[in-house]
Amino acid sequence: MSSEWPLWEVFIRGQHGLNHRHVGSLHAPDAELAIRHARDVYTRRNEGVSIWVVPSAQITASSPSEKGPLFEPANDKVYRHPTFYDIPDEVGHM
């Protein structure tokens, strides 16, 4: 039986108020140790205020071959962006 520790993905909140960001991965026997390892490995330079870890095997990713159908339909929905609309200068900031 392989005793290799499972792989975990590490997410760190760099500052209060920001999103957690994926910073890398590491090996650990369980979640608790993964958090500790993440603290030791990924915050050596004072990089974080909060850590998430997720077993890499638990990540469900979108399929690269679906990239077209998944993301291209959003390309032409220009009206979702504020710059689509002209607001007269007299109205002021909106």
């Binding site: 392989s2 290799e4 792989l7 991965s25 590491l26 026997p29 369980d30 140790l33 330079r45 690269p64």
Partner: protein
């Protein structure tokens, strides 16, 4: 470099897919782990990133050799933090390799049984405290030459690992130079140590870039894939041009009688290292190959009960949790 003489694989994939893949790379797109890639690209990358990771790990040893003898508390802390960074960099790189479908244990086994290599430079000994300066200044300096462009490599996880590594490494070369400067401006004995360290590390540092690869098919393929960005000769020249004035500032002499400024190319002419020595080191005949491998094998062997003990506990407590629910 940390990945020297990496052989590329020949591609046997569908030419149409290959062309589309190459077009993505040429357009500067990043290739991500789950996307289609030629089997040869994947295998070459595993070899290259693995070798790079192994170099970081074995590279802990020559510098680690002086942690317990560092002459001040501050120097001890700096060196320890630096060698710790090397372990971190090895870890980031192993993780990048793992996205290609190889496990870290696999890679480790291949290092320990000699099937995978690490950089030749770490088979040279650190004999005096000045060597710690020389390693930071010259060895990290040479490594950075290669790693900075690799931040733009085509494989996403590799590129991201290099970005993180470069950010952290910026202090490594500086601390090495700072240490060298303390030695070069110190007592007569310290100066002698500094010069001796430069004498011994100069040519091994030049060898880090690998032999000229102008004619190498492996290099051509790797450059097309953007997993190699510059030729070995380009990087070596850049390294020499950068290092010569730094040595002059320290009042140290580069051990090369043929070192002369070439106005025409706007760079220094310099002697080639002894490539037969390089090949001997790669074959296992460097001054420290045996010691380095034994140290890594011992750490891995002696650590087995620890790794298994923790895994067994994790399994037990998971089972207990399930039973309690």
């Amino acid at each position: 470099m940390y990945a020297q003489m990496v052989k590329s694989e020949a591609s046997t994939d569908d030419p149409e897919l290959l062309a589309a893949f190459q077009a993505r790379i040429d357009a500067g797109e990043k290739i991500e782990p789950k996307e289609w890639m030629p089997e040869a690209y994947r295998k070459t990358l595993i070899r290259q990133i693995g070798q790079h990771a192994h170099s970081e790990i074995v590279g802990q040893l020559p510098e680690g050799n002086w942690i317990t003898r560092a002459p001040t508390l501050e120097r001890k802390a700096i060196l320890l933090a630096k060698v710790q960074d090397e372990a971190g960099h090895g870890l980031y790189l192993y993780c990048a390799a793992e996205t290609l479908g190889v496990s870290r244990d696999d890679l480790t086994e291949q290092l320990l049984n000699g099937r995978m290599k690490y950089s030749s430079i770490f088979n040279y000994p650190t004999l005096t405290w000045a060597d710690i300066g020389a390693v930071g200044w010259l060895v990290d300096g040479a490594a950075i030459m290669n790693q900075v462009p690799l931040q733009r490599t085509s494989f996403g996880p590799y590129s991201r690992a290099m970005i993180r590594i470069c950010k952290e490494e910026s202090f490594h070369q500086r601390q090495g130079y700072d240490l060298m400067r303390a030695m070069a401006t110190g007592t007569a004995e310290q100066k002698a140590m500094a010069q001796d360290a430069l004498n011994r590390f100069w040519y091994p540092a030049l060898m880090m870039f690998g032999p000229s690869d102008k004619e190498s098919i492996h290099s051509t393929q790797s450059m097309a894939w953007r997993i190699k960005i510059n030729t070995n000769d380009e990087l070596r020249q850049k390294f020499v041009d950068q290092t010569v004035p730094q040595a002059q500032y320290l009042g140290l002499t580069i051990p090369d009688e043929n070192l002369v400024w070439n106005d025409e190319k706007g760079g220094w002419d310099f002697s080639e290292p002894d490539w037969s020595e390089f090949y001997e080191v790669l074959k296992g005949n460097g001054p420290c190959n045996t010691d380095r491998m034994e140290a890594r094998q011992k750490a891995w062997r002696d650590g087995e009960w620890f790794r298994e003990g923790l895994m067994a506990h994790a399994r037990k407590s998971a089972a207990r949790r399930v039973a309690a629910e």
